[in-house]
Every structure is written in C-alpha cells, then in structure tokens.
Amino acid sequence: MMHQTIKRDGVETIGDPYLCLEGMNKKYGLVEVISNLNLAVRKGELIALLGPSGCGKTTTLRMIAGLIAPTAGRITVGGRDVTQIAPHGRDMGLVFQSYALFPHMTVAKNVAFGLEMRGLSRADIANKVAKALGMVQLEHLAERKPRELSGGQQQRVALARALVIEPSILLLDEPLSNLDAKLRDEMRTQIRDIQQQLGITTVFVTHDQVEALSMCDRIVVMKGGLIEQVGTPHEIYERPATPFVASFVGRTNRVKGKRTADGCIRIGSSMIRSARPAVQDDVMVMVRPHRIHIDWNAASTEQQGETANRMAAVLSRITFVGDVIQYHFDVGGSEFIVEESTKKSQVSRDQGDKAVLSWSVEDTLVFGADQ
C-alpha cells in the first residue's frame, strides 16, 4: 500500500536533476515574495507551478527566464550556472498568457525571429519554420498577421515560436488562461503531446488545478512564496501534505475533531479513525466528497470491519450539478458534502432524510488544527 512518508519541504532529492533552483529568494523592498525556494526538475519532465494568485509562481518562472533578478539564490541548467546571464543568453522558450506575438510580423516571421537572431541561413530558417508550424497545424496560416488569428491559433503560434529555437527549457506562463473552456482542453492535450514528443523540460505556471493534474509529471504547490508540496498529481491529490494543498487541489470536506486517548478522533458524538495518527489534540479532518458512500437504509452506524468510518447524518440540501449531484449533510453540527454521479433512475431524496455516511480509513486526511 501507499504509506510513503510525505516530504514537507521542497528540498527533494531526485536522480539526474536538469534545472535546479537553489535557495531562491526575491524581495521587493521589505516584502519577500519568494523565500528560500529549492526545486530540482528532471530532464524531459513537465512540472507545474500551481497556486493562487500572488503565491510567487509567476515570479519564480520569470526568475528562471532571467526577466527578474533574484535577490539571492542560484539557477543551474544542466550544471551550467545561468543566474547572472541575461534573458537573451539563456536559451529558454517562453509562452505568455497574452500570447505576446509581434503584431507587425506575419506568423512565419514571428516563428522565424529566434532563428534569425541565431544567424541561421535562410534555407534553414524556412525549413525549421515550416516544421514548427506543421507541429501546431498552422502551415496554412503562415502569411497571416497575428490579429487575423483566433486566440487558440495565436497561442499555437507562440508555442511554435518558442519551440523552434530548440530551447533547453520551455517556460509556459498560464498559456491557457485566455482561451475558452473547449479550446483549453484541446490545447492541454496538444501541449502535452508536443512536450512528450520533443522530450523538452518544461515549467508550467497555472492557477488551474485541473491543468496541473491532467498535464504534468509533477506538481509544485505554492502559497505565499513558499513551496507547500512537490509530488506527482496522484501524490498531491491522495496524500496532500498540508490542509492548504488538500483544499486547493480538488474539493474537500473539512471538519474539526479531537484526538482521544486510544488514537481515534471524535467528531461530535462519532468516533472515526485515520490511516495516519493525529499529531495534535485539536485536529482538522478532511474527506473528499466523492469518496464518501451514502447508505440510505442503514439501521445503525455500527462499525463493519476495520476499514471504514461511519457516521449518522441528516440530509439538509441537494444541489444538482449535471454530471454529479451534491448532497449536503448535517453531521452533529458540521456540514458534509457528498458527491454522487447522477444516474437515469435517481431516487429522489428529501430534506430531513436520514442516512449513514461511510468512507475508508485510507481516505481520511488528518491535519493539526493550527496548520
């Protein structure tokens, strides 16, 4: 089973690190926006910097690109220290939320820009530009100006422009945030496919947990200039290291509880258990809404076996969200939300209906109340 210890800080030892950030610090006046950030990225890895706005994820990306000078710290790429190198010498491809295409140049000229700066021959440039535009399926728009393209097409040009120089690292700054939902899904797949096909080391900044979970090899969850947790999407989702990670990635119920002498946790009048022992007397219990099973016909909350927590609950509200239905339960004064996927023949429930909620001990996340 998955009972690995959870790493609480960003310092992680991985084999063969390619991009390394060591002791990164950024201060604006007295305000510290990044404090002692350490991160190692493997070659060919797609890593997400995930967090709410103001968490320092974009600042971190801009420091990697050389657009912001760090107050302290060291950045190395493949062993080469690039901390003092200007952006034009860093060999990194950047894609912005605002696309940032050159409005006075055609699509082909935009993509050719980086190659011209490298002094390639005209034939080479034409060849590589055609190949890069082919990769994002935009060969037919090569002679258009950026303003004649849709948002999704512009972002694909920006991606081609960043990739055509074969950068050592690809940096994506919220590249999908200006696109509509359907396009975002397509671009997500396309970016991931191209990234894997080229095997390019990529840092992806996003505030959208779905993007981070679905596209990336590993996720760095940030808050207030600090790394909360680094891990695979699965680790971040199933074993969040902090209450912040648990509530920022995915939805979760949070209830206050008290540790008892025998190691159980009391919530109201119910006793539950968790896989990890509580570290404090006052604890915060978190359970994912879709991991809870509702038993409408149960007579008692008596424990059946050792693997499940069971609590008696009263239905207080129902919210229909299309593909899922949310039941809001009152459990001894605390609210529990349970999600079930909707079925054709849904039995209708009423406010005040009694039920027993159960979920596995494995799915019970326990944190100190002051964390």
């Binding site: 690109a65 050389g66 657009l67 200007a86 952006p87 034009h88 010498g89 860093r90 060999d91 990194m92 491809g93 950047l94 912005f96 605002s98 940032a100 295409l101 050159f102 409005p103 006075h104 820009f113 980086g114 700066m117 490298r118 920006a158 422009r161 960043a162 120089i165 940096l171």
Partner: protein, 264 residues
C-alpha cells in the same frame, strides 16, 4: 439597423458646430480668387491674380521655404530626441525620469508669449536671433512636449511581454528595440511626426520674437503683411497654409488611419 432617436438632433448640432468652426477657414478660399484690390467678401470679380502675386512675392516664397525646411528639421530632431527620452522614462525608469518628463512637458503649461520673451533675451546675447539654428531651437521647446507625450503614451500601451519574448528568443537589447519596440511604436511615431510638423509650421508667438528681416517664416510674414496692407494676398497665403496642413493629415490617414494614430 437600430436608429438612435436623438440622432437627428445630434446631426444638426454637429453640423452647426462644424460650420461655426470651419466658416472662417472656408471663407478664405473664395476670397483668394478675388479680382479686387482690397480684402472683402463677397469679391466683386474673380481672378487668379493673388496666386500670381504670391508666386512673384520673393519674401513670401522664401518665408514659405523657410517654414517648410524649419518644420522638417524640427520634426526630425524632435523624434531623434523624444524616442530615446520616452524609452528612458517609460521603460528604463531611470532615477529622476518623472522629474525629467515634467520638465520636458512644462512648456505646454507656460504662456507661450512668456517663453518667447525668455528665449528672445537669451538668444539676443548669443547672436541666435533671426538665424535658422535659433528658430530650430525655439521651435523644439514647443514641439518636444508634444512628441514626448505622444510617444510615452504609445510606448506605455505596448505589451511588455512582446519585448520579453523577443529577449527570450535571443535578441540583444538593441535588437529588441529595433525589431520589436520601434515597429510597434509606429502609430505613435506617425502621430508625433504629424503633430510636430504642424505645430512648427503654424507657430507664430515664439517665432515673432526670433525672426527678423534676414529670416522669417510664413505665418509671421502673413501677420506682418496684414499689419501693413489689406489686400487678398493673405487669403492665398492662408490657402497655402491650409493645404499643407491637410496634406499632413491626409498622409497620416492614408498610412494608418487618424483614429489609430491619435486615439491610442
């Protein structure tokens, strides 16, 4: 099509306003074709004699050429100074740039006649009166604030990410400026060019202090002519001034559209 119920009222008001503003200007055209010896409307007969008189008037013609050359030189110099200055103020944000910006644009707020007098006093001691150099420097005081304002706004509105993208693609700072920043500022540069040219070409107040019998500009010569004589020659000179202005405005409109050049 949706019809605004007040649009007829708006249209009439705008038409009246336009007529009110343009009537004196439009009046100049028929008078310039007058066959009379005095400035009067309507003229009793028609002729081209005042255009012939203008072409034969060496003082007027040399003043016109001076104005044309002056406006060209002043415009070019304004851009050469204001483009790097706006970059230093908006992009590099060098220390004291705020102060410099206010200093450069202060002449817009001062009474022009006071400026003219001040320049006269300084130039008199330096022997710059009624010289081309003196006129150029005097006009720069007036045109630079316009150029700097227009270019700073234009630069401030650019997406900084474009310049950052160019840098990340391997462009050195000078290449970023030349290949990305400058071309993206094109609308602002055209607007600044037109404004500087027109301001310099029309300038009277400061120029009055700086011209003399050795060297004079068309607007100043026109002013002097009206003081001494009341013949329709001034109408044909005015037509020349109006046509020059129109030409500049039309060049701007053809190259990028007036709205784009002046509104953004």
């Amino acid at each position: 099509m949706e019809e605004n119920p007040t649009s007829w009222f708006m249209r009439v008001t705008v038409t009246i306003l336009f007529l009110f503003l343009l009537a004196p200007v439009l009046l100049v055209f028929p008078i310039s074709f007058s066959g009379d010896q005095i400035l009067a409307f309507p003229p009793s007969s028609w002729s081209l004699q005042w255009y012939e008189a203008l072409l034969g008037n060496t003082v007027m013609m040399s003043a016109f050429l001076t104005s044309l050359g002056l406006a060209t030189v002043v415009t070019v110099l304004s851009l050469i100074i204001a483009i790097p200055a706006s970059y230093a103020i908006v992009r590099l944000k060098v220390t004291g740039s705020e102060f410099l910006f206010n200093l450069f644009t202060a002449p817009l707020l001062l009474p022009t006649i006071v400026l003219g007098l001040a320049i006269l006093i300084i130039f008199a001691s330096m022997g710059l009166l009624a010289t081309f150099t003196g006129l150029v420097i005097g006009h720069l005081v007036i045109t630079l604030p316009y150029a700097l304002r227009v270019l700073s706004v234009s630069l401030g509105n650019l997406n900084l990410a474009c310049e950052e993208a160019a840098a990340s693609l391997g462009a050195k700072p000078l290449a970023v400026f030349g290949k990305v920043t400058l071309p993206m500022m094109a609308p602002g540069i055209v607007a600044a060019t037109a404004l500087c040219f027109l301001v310099s070409f029309d300038e009277v107040v400061i120029t009055l202090f700086l011209t003399g019998p050795r060297m004079t500009t068309l607007p100043v010569e026109l002013f002097h002519h009206v003081e001494s004589q009341a013949d329709p020659l001034v109408a044909s000179v005015s037509v020349l001034l109006i046509l020059m202005t129109l030409a500049v405005v039309m060049i701007v409109d053809r190259t990028m559209g007036l709205t784009k050049a002046f509104m953004k």
